[in-house]
Structures are given as structure tokens and as C-alpha cells.
Symmetry: C2
Subunit: 305 residues, 2 copies
Amino acid sequence: MAITVVGSVAFDTVETPAGRRERCLAGAATYFSLAASYFTDVRVIAVVGEDFGAEQQAVFDAHKIDTRGIERAPGKSFFWQGSYLENINEAKTLQTDLNVFAGFEPKIPDAYRDSQFLFLANIDPVLQRRVREATPNAKLVAGDTMNYWIKDHKPALLEVLKGLDIINDTEARMLAGKENLVQAARAVMDMGPRMLVVKHGEYGATLFHKSIPKGHKSESFRAPAMPLEQVVDPTGAGDSFAGGFFGYLASQKELTPGVFRRAMFYGSVMGSFACERFGTERLQELTREAIDERFHFFRELTHLD
Amino acid sequence: MAITVVGSVAFDTVETPAGRRERCLAGAATYFSLAASYFTDVRVIAVVGEDFGAEQQAVFDAHKIDTRGIERAPGKSFFWQGSYLENINEAKTLQTDLNVFAGFEPKIPDAYRDSQFLFLANIDPVLQRRVREATPNAKLVAGDTMNYWIKDHKPALLEVLKGLDIINDTEARMLAGKENLVQAARAVMDMGPRMLVVKHGEYGATLFHKSIPKGHKSESFRAPAMPLEQVVDPTGAGDSFAGGFFGYLASQKELTPGVFRRAMFYGSVMGSFACERFGTERLQELTREAIDERFHFFRELTHLD
């Protein structure tokens, strides 16, 4: 089944202990689309400027990503510059130029209207909500958020949460105002979504269900992260996780609890690949075989036998 | 097989968001022994004062823990007072009275000499080394350390590391002086031990092998922690982990890679129980059935099927 994703397509300049890259093709929707494209068809809603040329378009085309929803606007694409020199786990933002993104009005092509899977990447919750309301037939809707929206745009975010099945939220504790993760998870799910994915960086991620799945003992499932000897660039790891997670879900006929577990593993797999090179470089050149090989590595990393 | 453990037997006064307890029976060797006692015979080397009476002795006796190596000295037992009111994950030490522990000279009863499993709990590395040297026939030797010894007693600690098979070290990064966990693990194992267990608090723990076990792809294995809705008292969780981990190992005929994996799960299980009540209260009243039930819960928490 096809996924529609709305989010940013951008250029990033990053510096990390591994080096520096100028104007990588990046943005949450780009990471998400590339990661999900190894599992299913992906359709993007975004806006780019005149600096988005044939080279960038070719990256989407090579992964058969539908870009009819990427609007071309006069001016420059969203640009972000960040540094991980002080802390590899936390970006220090050096510059953010919204550029054409400042006036972004998501437009959903008619050809996207039959998408049953919708992903609202990390953008202004007002825009997330608008896209959600314009796609009432979506079967499974997931969204992402971050500390910035929790702190300064909470009322709009709370409205979005009501319309989500799954929320990806590394800052679930902040959103819930609770220190204990289990309590925070329950509080976030009381805001709307029936599932919550919390990423723990190098320690993996946890999936919480609002109610314990039939035949199971636990409301949660924990997936590992890859023990990486070197993180080249952690930018987009969360968006790539979301792409692997949601992409795998959309590729499955039935959404059983077991499918959600495997989706968590595929999310973690795609997040780990994203960190191995700058920007979306690694995600551009993967194969499904390499992805499945890492999936099996993750299984060995966590399974008793 | 019997385990000999050397470490502290103490009284703790703790305050946490869940309440306050005065003078709980505690200390690293107590947590370790109780946790390990559900798997195998345990023999303790420690020193206590006159405040260690029939009530405390009865706790060890009820778990058939050999206390012939617990020396009774004039004065008071080791006392620690800490608070978790500010941060449930990190104790703030309010008072430490070494008391009889200040002059502790570990004495190994002859009856302990055939122990093939030796655990050096978190005490002065000079004492750890002395016990290690006095037990040359031990088949598997594990030890624990912490930031205090790494910072201020590093030369003595490095000597201990040479004589260990397994080191438990939450602060592996600090010991190695490396931020990346995989790199830090390799550096720590280059100091002597062929295995390293790093605990990640609520995110579980990782076992690193110096070389990839035969038939496996990964040098590491990741065990989860219990998603606890309330941590009553985290004191001793690491020692209880060590007791479960090492106790299970000592109970097995052969130390295969699969046994080490299951030992990590049992470690995590015992650590989770320890947090559920104050001091060693929860560890005192467990059953092997309750332990195995949680083991299966942990399997479901992490396994794909």
C-alpha cells in the first residue's frame, strides 16, 4: 500500500567529528521517503525552491518516489546548518532558513487521495492537522513531533494527536510532563494515539500499545539500536526510523502485533543505516538484501536463541 | 557451583519519591547474595558491626547463604544515606560512615576455597585484588566498579582488571576515555577482561565479548530492562543484576554463548525486582517461579515471535 508523507525536503550543512558536508539533500520527508521506499510506494508532499534541481529529483526518481506533491516555488529550499562537534547525540543548530517553507501550504494531489497510510513528518502541527483533515480515508495515520512543538505549539499539537493512530515522540516525557516512561506513555496515548514509539538513541526504541495486544503479556515492545563504532552523521536517524517502521507496516497485508514488532526492528535498521554516512547518502544506495541482513543481525543481538 | 562474593554488608537510609526507609539491610554483597541465592549456593566475605544482629542474620540464613566469611567486628556496620528525590536515576549521597569497613581485611574461610566462581563487588580495588590473588583456582572471576574508583584509584583498578574474566562497568566510557560505547568496550577489554557488561539503567544492558562467539555475527548482546511504572528504590539494582547474571552462570554446567545471553536476562530480571521495594525487601521474598515468569515477560518484550 502506498504511503503519503508530508514534511520538509531541504538542504543541510552539517559538521560532525567525522567531517563536514555542505548542502546535503536532507529534510524529514526525504529521509522518511528514502527509508520507506525499500518497502512500499511513497508519495511526498513538500515544497522546494529553485535550488532543487535535476540532481535532487534524480534521487527521488531512482527510488520510484512519487514527487507530484512536491511544489516548486520561487526562492530557495529550506536550509538547516548544524554541528555535532560538542555532542554527537544532540545537534547544535547554527542556522535555519525556512525560505520557501515559510509559506508552505500543503496541497494533496488527487493521485494521492487513495493512500491508506499517512505520515505527518515533523512540521508545524497546524500543517499536520490540515493534511490529516484532508485525508479522512487514511487507514493508519502516524506522526512525528519534537521538543520545539511541544514547548511552543502545544495546543495545536494536542489537536493533531487526536487524529493520530501512532505518534513518534522521543520527548514523550516532556509532552506528558511525567518523568517515568511508562506513565508518560500512558498519558500521551490518552491524548489520542493508540500507539506510541519512543526512540532512545543508541539504546533503541520502545513501542507502547494503549491496550495489551491479544495473546501478549506486555503493552510494550523494545527494539535495539545498532552498536555503531562510528556515528558519521546522526541527522535524520529518527525520520529514517519512521520510514522503515511505517514503510514495513504499509507493505504488510495485515497489521498484527507481530508485524508491529518487525516494523520496530526495520525502523531501527533504517535509523542505523542513516547514521553511517552524511545526509541521506547511505539511504540512497541500500538494497533490500543489506536491510534484511541487518534485520537478522538485530535479531541475534537481542534474541536468546 | 558455589559463588564466593566479597563486598559490603551495610545499612542504608534512603529517601525516594515513594517514601523513606531507615537502616534497611543493604550493601553490594547483600544485594548480590540474595539475588544469586535463587540460582546457586552463595558464600559471602564481608565485615559487619555489632548492629548486625539476629534479624539480619536470619535474612541470609533464610536464603541458605553461607556467612562464615562475614567477620563480626567491634563498632558499627557500614552505613550509607542517600536521596533520590531530585533524580530517581542518580543517588545523592547524604552520609557515608565506613565504620568497621574502614579496616576491612578480607579473610577467606577454608570452606570457601573450592569456589570456582568469584565475584568482587564494588569495593576498594586493593581489596578486590587481594581476594583475587588468594583464589587462584577460580574458574570464572567477575568484578564490579564505579566512577569513584575510576576517578581516584585507577592504577589499583587497572591491576584488578588484569585478573578478571568479566567486568561490570556502567562507566565503561569513563574508564576507557572514549565516548563511543563500542570503542569504549573494546578499550576496556584490552585492559584484561574478555567480557564486559554495561548497564544502561531503564534501557537495559549490553554484554560485549572480546571476540565474536563461534556461530554468531555480533560481539554484543542486548538485554532489556523492565518498563517499571514506579521505581520505589533503585539502590542495589546493579548489584542485583550482577547476582542474577553471575548466579545463573554458576548454576549452569557449561558456559555457552546462549548461557551468557540468558544470564543477561536473569541479571536484568533481578535488577528490576530490586527496584520494586525499598532496600533488599523484594529480593528477600521472591520465588524462582516469579523470577522465571518475569524472564518470560522479558522474552516477550524483545522477541519477534
